[in-house]
Symmetry: C2
Subunit: 186 residues, 2 copies
């Protein structure tokens, strides 16, 4: 018999429940059986919508990544666009810290993070980074932001700036690296 109240059980419904469990207790708090209980469903029903636990997590990560708000290709200066990209990425990371930490430790898990890399490429090209160095520069910049967010999601950035919050420190650090980049490309 069907213990469920409504319609079949959608993948969105499943992802939402995954986020609830992971947000509240980390990735290690997610189990197929707990997830089924959260959805008021038999554990085995999940396997009709998802290949296995790994695929489920990958799917949830991709779903979150698609929510990335990429800066548009208007004429604004590259520094501003990079800042906007960094903040968009940070916003997603902070809304699901545990899941982001998991993705960060397993890169390649989500192939296209909402087209982030293409935008990154465009802005860096506009900044004057030669095509041959693009991937390297992009990777280094990304790792920098990734490191900052690792610190922030673990509370290492909290109360670090006497006059402000973690965002102040994040901004200052991004400015630092943008200055360094600027002095290289000009």
């Amino acid at each position: 018999m069907s213990a469920r109240r409504g319609q079949p059980l959608t993948i969105q419904e499943i992802y939402a429940a995954v986020l609830r469990l992971v947000d509240e207790g980390g990735v290690e708090n997610l189990s197929m059986r707990k997830l089924a209980a959260e959805l008021d469903v038999n554990p085995m029903s999940l396997y009709h919508h998802v290949e296995n636990k790994d695929a489920l997590l990958r799917g949830a990560c991709t779903a979150v990544a698609l929510g990335l708000r990429l800066p548009p290709d208007d004429g604004t200066p590259w520094q501003e666009q990079l800042r906007a990209l960094a903040h968009a990425y940070r916003s997603i990371a902070l809304s699901h810290p545990a899941l982001w930490s998991y993705v960060n430790a397993h890169p390649g898990l989500v192939e296209q993070e909402g087209g982030m890399w293409e935008v990154f490429n465009r802005v860096l090209a506009a900044a004057g980074v030669p095509a041959g160095e693009l991937v390297r520069v992009r990777t280094v910049l990304y790792t920098f932001v990734s490191g900052l967010l690792t610190a922030e999601t673990s509370g290492l950035l909290a109360g670090l700036d006497p006059d402000g919050d973690a965002e102040t420190t994040f901004d200052a650090a991004v400015d630092l690296i943008l200055d360094a980049l600027g002095s290289r490309v000009t």
Copy 2:
């Protein structure tokens, strides 16, 4: 009866087996039962030497951290000492990538990473960083290296530099951030 060949089972022996398992299959490859099998011992015997699995992992991480080769306090320039510190840290991360990734995602797991923070403080003070900004600068620098190593341990840095290996990219990135720091303190 004792299925073991020799003496009681030392904590060093246990940590060594933990490293073997984690190095070869990641932290998720470590289970108390597999570890016991690796040591040719009853699973329950482990609990006589270690409180539980979390404490075991924490202990193994601390043991590794104690192997950090800190740069001595000779008169060498601060840039060179920071580079040496970064390389010492990198060396440990690369020798146990999976364990390092775990520590990186769980900061505060190992309290004193072999006195790394004290050395960091000393060198930054020598570089002219005001005492009030020391922790913030240190944290930002650390997160930068942490991000680079996350990339390197996941293979993102491999083959990025046309003329060299991942170390070349690592060095170039460290130089970039040292330049940025230098232009702030002088």
